[in-house]
């Protein structure tokens, strides 16, 4: 059964966002690449071979496939949670989108390094969040999904999504304060 989807466009539009989900959920580039490829292949087979119709948004549907694959990977690694900071070697300033640096108004080299450090620290801190909170944060800020869409992807009520996101913010804030305190003590 042929669909009206033009897959090169679908891949171009969503591969970056799905890579972000997978990378920040799993913390390893190779695993993230595997998950993104597998996500598109499963989506293709579902739509083109099994005639599945996507009722939710394509983005949320693909995110759901990707998140489930990420959970499978985490389970196959034999650990439910990633230890804090385990992704530091995988998330570098070089990965950051140039447009996000430009968004802040062409900063100078020193400012750029400082900002990159902050972003790297923040991405690393996200890796240290509990799995559910981490995935909710990645879906909200990495993929810009609404609470309703996140609730559909994770199959939980919207209130739970709101609670996870709020707790994630508080945890990240606590961690940032701890980091500042540590730097002050060291200085």
């Amino acid at each position: 059964m042929a669909s009206s989807l033009y897959w090169p466009d679908v891949v171009r539009e969503y591969s970056s966002q799905l890579f972000s989900i997978a990378l920040h959920t799993l913390g390893r580039r190779e695993d993230a690449e595997d998950v993104v490829q597998e996500t598109f292949l499963r989506a293709y087979v579902a739509v083109e071979r099994r005639g599945v119709t996507v009722h939710t948004s394509m983005r949320a549907w693909l995110a759901r496939i990707a998140v489930n694959l990420c959970y499978d990977k985490l389970r196959s690694r034999g650990r439910a949670e990633l230890p804090a900071g385990s992704g530091s070697e995988t998330l570098s300033v070089l990965d950051r989108e140039p447009r996000d640096r430009q968004r802040r108004g062409e900063p100078g080299p020193e400012e750029l390094v400082l900002m990159a450090e902050t972003a790297d620290n923040l991405a690393e801190a996200v890796q240290g969040l509990p799995e559910n909170h981490r995935v909710a944060v990645v879906l909200r800020y990495g993929l810009d999904l609404s609470y309703r869409e996140i609730a559909q992807v994770l199959e939980v009520p919207e209130n739970t999504v709101a609670t996870w996101l709020r707790r994630a913010h508080l945890a990240l804030r606590r961690r940032a304060r701890l980091g500042e305190d540590a730097r002050c003590t060291a200085g």
Partner: protein, 158 residues
Amino acid sequence: MHCGLVHTKLLAYIDGALPAEEESEVAAHLAGCWSCTQELAMLRREAGDLRSALSVSPPPGLEPAILRRIGALARSGRAENTWESLAGHRLWRSVVVAAAALALAFAGLAVISPPAYAMVISNMARLGAHVNAVASQRFPAWAEFVRVVESLRMLVGI
């Protein structure tokens, strides 16, 4: 609504995820509360920082690799569909199964009882001749076709 409760709802308020009634209550509270307004600003800043921190570029080879694999799937899918349309056709499958069963039955009969096999063959030949005679009477084109086949058979010497 007191500050503690408003703090728990501010993130959902920023994200437009509160029910309309709660949204108005939070907005009304914010209009007169400096502390909650500060918290709101901080959450907005954190959300912006998170968006930047979580935005990554995929490796350049990722998209082409995905498209190659989808292309391979599409090609294998077309081959499967062609085979399915031939082998999966119900009538075609029934004819093949019936012919195979008939051939097997004849072979079995020839091995088990050659006289019975000879009788069946002779009866079938007689039945064929009868059908041919009736068809030739009713359909002149059929009689002409049989005559041409007979001539060709004699010509080839079968």
